[in-house]
Amino acid sequence: MTPFLSVRDLYVRFATEDGTVRAVDGLSFTLERGRTLGIVGESGSGKSVTNLAVLGLHDPRTTEIRGEVLLDGQELTGAPESVLEKLRGNKVAMVFQDSLTALSPYYTVGRQIAEPYRKHTGASRREARLRAVEMLRRVGITDPALRVDDYPHQFSGGMRQRAMIAMALVCDPELLIADEPTTALDVTVQAQILDLLKELQQQTGAAIVLVTHDLGVVAGTVDDLLVMYAGRAVEQGPVREVLRAPRHPYTWGLLGSMPRLSSDVGQPLTPIPGTPPSLLAPPPGCPFHPRCAYAASVAEDRCRTERPSLPPGRGAACHLGEERQRSVFAERIRPRLG
């Protein structure tokens, strides 16, 4: 059986004045209906670019996209705009980080929720308005019949994020892409929004891609996890396994950099040395090798010369090999995480 969403060997390159930026460099993943995939990575890791490519939102004049994006058997890369337009907001929807820029200040919240519904279903103005009220109620806005006529500036940050989720879900999408949906929010509101996404998924059975930089956010929310670094997936697997027994030195570095509410405060954090590489000229071999403490211990300089491949299912794109990954984590990394 073919998976609901399948991305295979995706390459996204931008032509810039300084040269070609390899934003996504050979990425593959799959996602089934009713499941949530978390994509984590730092700025510039390619996590957002990937999703814009799935939706066909890159400017074709400056962007080169290669690879395969199959949604429910339908090829999306290179699909004509008319096909993508029918999908976007309908079968596939997106929630962005910044609700203040994603919503238009000139139209009422209700109209912005009703618009895609009318476009995709041909509903009347009246029906669409009722649908908007219903959506606002479902995302937990109090007095939805009154608030439907408010403008975005009359909503608080958390309410705007709810309104954007209502807008994304109005046509019952089968795939929801949420790009840092809670990053701009306070923790108490973030918890509400994450709960809401899970609840709505249970009702509709949609597949969700949740993009974030926060390993804490994915922990309680997603089923599977993909860790990205410099445009590549470096580790993947069920979220519990990745966070409980991570295998890639970059994932170790991320976990060691984050203080936890239960960690030993006497211990200094263990940062990853150096900075992420330039995507104009990524390092040869493994992109993480210049910052990796274990690269020197791999025979024949393989980390510098040979690009490690990511095994499907559970695994890491790393030359250390599974056995050493396990022993290094157990002996050196695990004790420090507390």
């Binding site: 608080s156 918890a191 984050m258 509410l261 405060v265 900075t275």
Partner: protein, 346 residues
């Protein structure tokens, strides 16, 4: 001013009933003051020599305004600020000059807080220039030394901010704050604009500086785990008021205020995925009310699951609740039981 270095534990920077209301103007054709944003509303806090004091809260709670009041970048509406016992609340330029060199600030955004047209050397030596300080060996030598202290290459003296990454820029900001040998540094969200892997580098640097130079920090942040990691004592703010304050253990292991408790339970943690730690979840409903018209009585009551009539009529005082230890204050009529373990023991 006493030139001796402060003893560890001596109160350095003290706020008493500190208040800042920003006027809200409106109306047509004559614009007049129609209300006030009560950004900071009567807070007391003390930063002691050699310690790190954490100020946490969600956006709009007044934590940044507090930092700006204490560094005298904003003029308080009421209350007092004392620096080593001296009242500097309304001190003029001349009286403030020596104090300014001892209280420095690190800002959140390393892109906006450095002048893009100045070299690193010029930026870091700026404070010495303003205060007319000529260190032995010259300013350039001192700047090179400072760059080395914060982990930058002293050879980069003549480079411009755009040639550095975000983490390196934040280090430049730290070097500038250290230029005059401050006794207190107010750090306003110093790592929140940085990527996770870089955050840890800067957090470690700040802790190392504190140990080696004995600088006191007022660490303002919304990230509860980062604040816990760096702070000896912590205050939690909500809508312009401190709702709870105490030692790190008091706040994180034995919170008495329902808001502190809810805040801690809302933090998503990577450790939650492995299923070994079961935490109770408290979900607050709604958003933080507007600081223009805060709720009567206890400001948290509109989101609090324990609120009763009394909470609407009577503002709870920040005081030691029954069962709390020395120095652990909370502002709640119905505090959480003293044994509340918001977190499993480490």
């Amino acid at each position: 001013m006493d030139e001796k270095s402060p003893r560890v534990g001596e109160p350095l920077l003290v706020a008493e009933n500190l208040t800042k209301h920003f006027p809200v103007r409106g109306g047509f054709p004559i614009r007049r003051t129609v209300g006030a944003v009560q950004a900071v509303d009567g807070i007391d806090l003390t930063v002691r020599a050699g310690e790190s004091f954490g100020l946490v809260g969600e956006s709009g709670c007044g934590k940044s305004t507090t930092g700006r009041l204490l560094t005298r970048l904003l003029e308080p509406s009421a209350g007092r600020i004392l620096y080593r016992g001296e009242d500097i609340t309304h001190a003029g330029r001349r009286q403030l000059a020596p104090v300014r060199s001892e209280i420095q600030m690190i800002f959140q955004d390393p892109y906006a807080s450095l002048n893009p047209r100045q070299t690193v050397g010029r930026i870091v030596s700026g404070p010495m220039e303003i205060h007319g300080i000529e260190p032995p060996g010259g300013r350039e030598a001192r700047v090179r030394e400072l760059l080395e202290t914060v982990g930058l290459n002293p050879e980069h003296y003549n480079r411009f901010p755009h040639e550095f990454s975000g983490g390196q820029r934040q280090r430049i900001g730290v070097a500038r704050a250290l230029a005059l040998g401050p006794k207190v540094v107010v750090a306003d969200e110093p790592v929140s604009a940085l990527d996770v892997s870089i955050q840890a580098q800067v957090v470690n640097l700040l802790q190392q500086l504190q140990r080696e130079l004995g600088i006191a920090f007022l660490f303002i942040a919304h990230d509860l785990a980062v604040v816990r990691h760096v702070s000896h004592r912590v205050a939690v703010m909500y809508l312009g008021r401190i709702v709870e304050t105490g030692s790190r253990e008091d706040i994180y292991r034995r919170p008495r205020h329902p808001y502190t408790h809810a805040l801690l339970s809302a933090v998503p943690e990577a450790a939650d995925a492995d299923g070994t730690t079961r935490r109770e979840r408290i979900r607050l409903t709604g958003d933080v009310p507007s600081p223009v018209a805060p709720p009567s009585g206890c400001r948290f009551r509109t989101r609090c699951w324990k609120a009763r009539d009394r909470c609407a009529t009577e503002a709870p005082a920040l005081a030691r609740a029954d069962g709390s230890g020395e120095g652990h204050l909370s502002a709640c009529h119905f505090p959480e039981p003293p044994t509340t373990a918001a977190r499993p023991e480490a």
